[in-house]
């Protein structure tokens, strides 16, 4: 993969940019400066930044010597599932707002953004099965354990805080972003001292 202005910027740049845009759209939506339809369209546009994020991430993996065919399949699977999640969420919100849906159809609508989450879990499982490099597989398993630890710890803590009415209710769908954050932090912690370029000696 050749260096372009996209891949020269690290994944951190793209993650920061996506987070900043999502936060800006959320602030505009909460303050009612834009309606929910506009917010969904802007969020979908932000989803397009997942492509440069993936390319930048793959370049970073190649530089650090942690690339493999299984990782490339994983990246593409996660990108497809993430885009499906944005699309599913957008369709669900737009349909509910535009058509004022009620009754059993809401079960189906609510499932639209959930199906891609199941796909993400499947892509991760497939990666752990397919990865032939035992150290990379070890990293993935440990990162998953880190994500699970953060999720279980925070969910238990928040749940009891809620029981005693110390904090407001946290929606269940936050579990996936928390899990992903735990995975990312664990992976960073485990690989932080690995040199980015090949050691010639």
């Amino acid at each position: 993969m050749t260096d372009t202005w996209i891949t020269r910027r690290g994944p951190g740049f793209w993650i920061g940019l996506i987070a900043a845009l999502v936060a800006a759209v959320a602030v505009l939506a909460v303050s009612e400066a834009i309606n929910s339809t506009t917010a969904i369209i802007l969020m979908a546009g932000t989803g397009g930044l997942l492509f440069p994020l993936m390319r930048s991430g793959e370049r970073c993996e190649e530089r650090s010597g942690s690339s493999s065919p299984a990782i490339r399949r994983y990246n593409r699977g996660m990108l497809a599932a993430s885009l499906a999640y944005i699309l599913g969420m957008g369709i669900a919100v737009l349909l509910t707002n535009a058509m004022g849906l009620e009754g059993n159809i809401l079960w189906l609508i609510a499932f639209l953004p959930v199906a891609p989450i199941f796909a993400m879990i499947w892509v991760m499982t497939r990666y752990i099965i397919d990865e032939e490099d035992e150290y990379l597989r070890h990293l993935a398993v440990m990162a998953n354990m880190g994500g699970l630890a953060l999720l279980m710890g925070l969910a238990s803590l928040w749940g009891f805080f809620e029981e005693f009415e110390l904090v407001s209710h946290a929606p269940g769908w936050l579990s996936v972003p928390v899990w992903a954050l735990g995975m990312g932090l664990t992976r960073w912690w485990m690989t932080r001292s690995i040199r980015p370029e090949g050691d010639k000696q």
Partner: protein
């Protein structure tokens, strides 16, 4: 577990990527094993030994404390 991977590699003037290619693993795996962050499985340890034409015991060294405890 300590190992002599870096020395053996240097003697042959192989980069981490050269060794990774011979072992069919990622360069990050070689780095992690070499720096003692990850102990390879027995099949991978045998492959490493085969690449250097040595025995596993010539490459991987038991910790003195661990050995004394046995």
């Amino acid at each position: 577990m300590k190992n002599r991977l870096r020395v053996l590699r240097a003697e042959r003037q192989w980069s981490q990527q050269d060794l990774a290619d011979r072992l069919d693993v990622s360069r990050q795996s070689v780095n992690a094993i070499e720096t003692g962050k990850y102990d390879p499985s027995l099949p991978l340890a045998f492959r490493i030994a085969d690449v250097f034409a040595l025995t596993i015991e010539d490459i991987f060294l038991r910790d003195p404390e661990e050995q004394a405890a046995q």
